[in-house]
């Protein structure tokens, strides 16, 4: 009687038992790791038309975020400042001790924008999909720090995306906002240390109402 199974089927137990699980686990790991917004989105650091350093302005000079992003408290969008905001200082007030040096090259596009009226074409770093309706103002009003979503911008010479901005990431906080809340006057403070401060929003007399973020679909997908 001839053999029902050919000889190569002897390797089947090894293939199915050892190699297939390894390949399967590898496929799962590949998708989990490299398809994750942690990989695809975090770290996006586009080159900007003007080499503006947040580390210098917000970090070393301690300027408040709202000096430039002035609409963040009452509008959905934290505005990218118009050239005029830069020109409050850079239209002659800031002097260089080294004429013709790197400073003038760095602000060349700014000067051009000021003279022609054309916008400086800043490259957007944080991009939510258009079907997610994000609004900055209730987040600021609830006491979510700028740094909670944008990272330590005061330490960034070139701004990069710090958090995945994925739906799961949003929901993590919407389901349990407490660890990301801080006193209402510390929202723009980049140095605020949530872990060290041991802050309890429920016991803050400055807070007029309880933070109750939506977790239903239409909270964000209107």
């Amino acid at each position: 009687m001839p053999a029902i199974f050919p000889r190569w089927t002897n390797t089947l137990p090894v293939v199915l038992g050892l190699i297939a699980p390894i390949l399967g686990a590898g496929a799962i790991f590949t998708v989990w790791y490299w398809f994750s917004p942690q990989y695809t989105d975090v770290g996006y650091q586009p080159a900007q038309p003007v080499p503006y350093s947040h580390k210098l302005h917000a970090g070393e000079m301690g300027m408040d975020c709202r000096y430039c992003h002035n609409t963040v408290e009452y509008a959905a969008v934290a505005a990218i400042p118009p050239t005029q905001t830069c020109m409050n200082c850079h239209d002659g007030l800031v002097r260089t001790t080294n004429p013709g040096g790197p400073y003038e090259g760095r602000i060349a596009n700014l000067k051009k924008s000021w003279e022609t009226g054309e916008a400086v074409e800043w490259v957007r770093v944080h991009m939510l999909p258009d079907y997610a309706y994000f609004n900055h103002s209730p987040h600021v009003a609830a006491g979510v720090g700028c740094a909670s979503c944008h990272g330590r911008v005061d330490q960034m010479v070139v701004v990069s995306q710090d958090q995945p901005l994925s739906m799961g990431w949003c929901l993590d906080c919407h389901r349990n906002p407490k660890p990301n809340l801080r006193p209402l006057d510390q929202v723009t403070n980049m140095n605020w240390d949530t872990d060290a401060e041991n802050y309890d929003p429920d016991r803050d007399p400055e807070r007029k109402r309880k933070v109750n973020p939506p977790v239903h679909c239409s909270g964000c997908h209107r």
Partner: protein, 221 residues
């Protein structure tokens, strides 16, 4: 290919793919673009429909949006009925702790970078530049700023003066600019205070504990 070769190839693939948080100048890859970018104008976006490519439009010259007619000279320009710089807050604003707190908050955001938190003209932006700004920011405690009317502080803050540009575009609510003017007056009064003033205040506070401290009334001078 030996096992060594294969593991090396696998390792090279992983190394090329990179890790979480690696910096990259190329935009995020989103395979499924369905409705990610919808054809609608969002704030500060580009739009080919308009010649200048901007979604956000400038209102046509000579038009006023409903409810935005700035016809109150006192509130919007700091001038009183006689066409002089107003000495008081505009109608509907009261000088209280809330207003001064707002003024302090806004002052520290928009004014302190140049004028300093104490108003001495020694802000960090000014001090960062070698030898300071080409034109030193005003020190509010200088003699020349001591008798200025409140409306002057409002007007300069809104429209600018000399090399300082106006801040009405950044601080859009005129009431916030009035609050800042009031806070600058607080800085002036508190820095110029003498021992006798404090004693007078304490005596008055003792007589009328419910009234706000007289130093803050300086804004209405």
């Amino acid at each position: 290919m030996s096992f060594m070769h294969r593991s090396f190839a696998a390792f090279a693939l992983v190394a090329l793919a990179g890790c979480w948080g690696n910096y990259s100048e190329s935009p995020p890859v989103h395979l499924q673009q369905n409705m990610d970018l919808q054809e609608r104008g969002e704030a500060q976006e580009r739009n080919q429909f308009f010649e200048d490519g901007r979604v956000m439009r400038t209102p046509p010259t000579g038009t006023v949006a409903v409810g935005f007619l700035k016809d109150d000279d006192h509130l919007w320009r700091g001038m009183d009925d006689n066409g002089k710089l107003a000495a008081t807050l505009p109608e509907g604003m009261t000088l209280d702790a809330e207003l001064l707190a707002r003024g302090e908050d806004r002052y520290n955001i928009y004014c302190a970078p140049c004028h300093g938190e104490q108003g001495r003209g020694d802000g960090l932006a000014n001090r960062r530049v070698a030898d300071g700004f080409a034109q030193a920011p005003a020190n509010f405690h200088d003699e020349q700023y001591q008798p200025v009317p409140l409306g002057y502080l409002f007007k300069v803050g809104s429209e600018g003066y000399g090399v300082m540009k106006g801040y009405s575009a950044q601080i859009t609510d005129p009431k916030d600019r009035w609050a800042i003017a009031a806070w600058i007056r607080v800085l002036q009064v508190s820095h110029g205070a003498k021992k006798a003033d404090v004693q007078k205040q304490l005596a008055q506070a003792g007589n009328a504990p419910t009234k706000p401290a007289p130093a803050k009334n300086g804004a209405a001078k």
